[in-house]
């Protein structure tokens, strides 16, 4: 294989693929090409990458400690030594937002890791097997769906005690049912398709059919759904933080920052606005990227 860019391009688009790795990479390349056609999606992806970059390199980027108080420079407007101003205790808002990105990202990642497999397995088994298993699993799912998610999260956090860990568990509990429903709908439509029948005619067990044929086909739509849900996860986390049920002070969580800043909103707008803008930007970025990803993964375009 040649290493210059022209050779690489040819390798990526070659009709006669030589190895399974090449075939898989070509497939990813096609998805990327469709994703890259969407400028807004790229913008979203760019913001997400920036967030990840920021979260990894905070200690080197942040100009101040997120906890260091300096009452003499409290409520300074943006500019000068403090890029985004300071809050009521004189802490640098820019640094706090940067440190907050770690919290936001870890909430998103942990919730997604908990939610995706649970939702997908519940949904795929319910959809494929049908009958009493479907009835039981879906009634449980509906039980969770019957409450507004923020109320349910509030109830859980109130019961478990306010902390960031409990907020994460509470958000995960409210986020899996929609995934399960989606996966169930997908597997319901898949189970009578001929290619699944064909696998049954090879003598495959039901377990094998679900795990190695139905689940992989559900993954794209679940990934898209979770990406779109991430905005909701961020907002719920911020909401819990705002209500004092998520991260506790002095943790620089964005929602909690908005909450404490609202007392100074009229005189010092930046204390509320800066973390608010951060929440808005990141939620929007996940939505844009999710939309583009849905278009890119849509098999109907093939």
């Amino acid at each position: 294989m040649t290493t210059n860019s022209k050779g690489l391009k040819a390798w990526l688009t070659a009709e006669d693929t030589e190895s399974p790795t090449q075939a898989a990479i070509q497939n990813i390349w096609m998805i990327w090409r469709r994703f890259a056609d969407n400028p807004l999606g790229l913008l979203g992806l760019g913001i997400i990458l920036l967030l990840v970059f920021a979260a990894i390199f905070v200690p080197w980027i942040a100009t101040y400690s997120p906890f260091e108080q300096n009452l003499q420079s409290a409520l300074r407007p943006p500019g000068g030594a403090h890029l985004l101003g300071t809050d009521e205790l004189g802490r640098d808002i820019f640094s706090r937002i940067l440190w907050g990105s770690r919290i936001t990202l870890s909430i998103i990642v942990i919730v997604s890791i908990i939610v995706a497999p649970i939702g997908m397995l519940v949904g795929c088994f319910a959809g494929y097997y049908g009958g009493w298993l479907d009835t039981i699993l879906m009634r449980i799912t509906e039980l969770f769906l019957s409450f507004p998610s923020l109320i349910l999260a509030l109830a859980f956090v109130a019961a478990l005690g306010p902390s960031l860990e409990n907020a994460v568990i509470a958000i995960a509990l409210t986020q899996w049912p929609p995934i399960a429903r989606l996966a169930r709908a997908e597997s319901l439509s898949l189970r009578h398709r001929d290619h699944i029948s064909a696998v049954r005619l090879m003598g495959a067990s039901n377990l094998r059919i679900v795990l190695s044929h139905i689940v992989p086909l559900c993954i794209p739509s679940v990934v898209v759904r979770i990406t779109l849900n991430m905005a909701g996860i961020i907002l719920t986390a911020a909401g819990l933080g705002f209500l004092g049920l998520g991260a506790q002070p002095p943790t620089p969580e964005w929602g909690a920052m908005v909450s404490t800043g609202r007392r100074f909103m009229l005189d010092s707008w930046w204390v509320v606005s800066m973390p608010g803008i951060a929440i808005l930007t990141v939620s929007l970025a996940f939505n844009l990227a999710g939309d583009a990803l849905r278009d890119a993964l849509d098999p109907r375009q093939e």
């Binding site: 009709e15 006669d16 693929t17 030589e18 190895s19 399974p20 090449q22 075939a23 497939n27 398709r193 001929d194 290619h195 029948s197 064909a198 696998v199 049954r200 005619l201 090879m202 003598g203 495959a204 094998r208 044929h213 992989p216 086909l217 098999p299 093939e302």
Partner: protein, 269 residues
């Protein structure tokens, strides 16, 4: 090609097969008391219009739809209730729409290896290569995905996959109706060659009397879930059908430009 392998041992025996959909008052019999048997090495056709239950019979034999039957035997074994893993080594099916029948996100190679993995076939890779050769596909195609193949190539992959387990019987569910006319002939000829080479028995569903004339030894005509008559294809082609429905079917296909008279020249080469 017809008479060489014909034997008198029935390989599929079906007596009073019933498939119903729906429950209670809504129940509708898609297959209503059908009986026939297929002899080892022959090609048996099932013809009839859409909705007459011909495809459902194939699905009932393989257990994809639940059915009841007085007798349902494949190679002498009763399969009316349960089908073991072994059953699927003997019987494989080729579906109507080759795009639907292949897993959309698996490469050709993976489609072929899947049955071998499930049945734990030892020499899987050799077999997969041989299967590709048998259906006339170049080995270079094996890392492609179904959407990168033409309709005819997809159907060849589906046939190659069915051959992976070295079955005795192939159930063909309108294997050419989703393909273009020139490709249809290629696939039919391929099937004939494979039958000769591997001594396969075909049970083939079709609505195309031309295909029946080209491929089959005997055929059964179906109408709304019931078997109207079973007759040798020579008789059908020479206008010997006795049942009025069969005659109507022939007349309809003649009007469509597929006169069995002209087909009789095409058939026995």
């Amino acid at each position: 090609m017809v008479d060489i392998m014909k034997s008198q041992t029935p390989i599929i025996e079906i007596d009073n097969l019933i498939v119903s959909f729906g429950e209670g008052d809504d129940a509708r019999r898609a297959v209503d008391g059908v009986s026939f048997s297929v002899l080892a090495g022959e090609t048996f056709g099932l013809v009839g219009e859409s909705g007459s239950g011909k495809s459902t019979i194939l699905r009932a034999i393989t257990g994809l739809v639940p059915s009841t039957a007085t007798t349902l035997r494949v190679m002498g074994e009763d399969v009316s209730r349960e089908r073991g893993k072994d059953f699927y080594r003997k019987v494989q099916m080729v579906f109507q729409d080759p795009y639907e029948a292949l897993h959309p996100r698996h490469t050709v190679w993976r489609q072929l290896m899947e049955p071998a993995r499930i049945q734990k076939v030892p020499d899987a890779e050799t077999r997969a290569k041989a299967s590709l050769d048998a259906v006339g596909l170049p080995q270079a195609l094996r890392w492609r995905y179904p959407h990168q193949l033409s309709g005819g190539q997809r159907q060849r992959v589906a046939i190659a996959r069915a051959l992976m387990l070295k079955p005795e019987i192939l159930l063909l569910d309108e294997p050419t109706s989703a393909l273009d006319v020139s490709v249809q002939a290629e696939i039919l000829n391929l099937l004939c060659d494979l039958q000769e080479e591997h001594g396969l028995t075909f049970l083939m569903v079709t609505h195309d009397l031309g295909v029946v004339a080209h491929m089959c030894n005997r055929t059964a005509v179906m109408q709304s879930g019931k078997l109207v008559e079973t007759l040798p294809v020579d008789v059908l082609v020479n206008g010997g059908a006795t049942e009025p429905y069969t005659r109507k079917l022939i007349a309809a296909s003649e009007a469509y430009g597929e006169a069995p008279a002209s087909l009789s020249q095409l058939t026995k080469v």
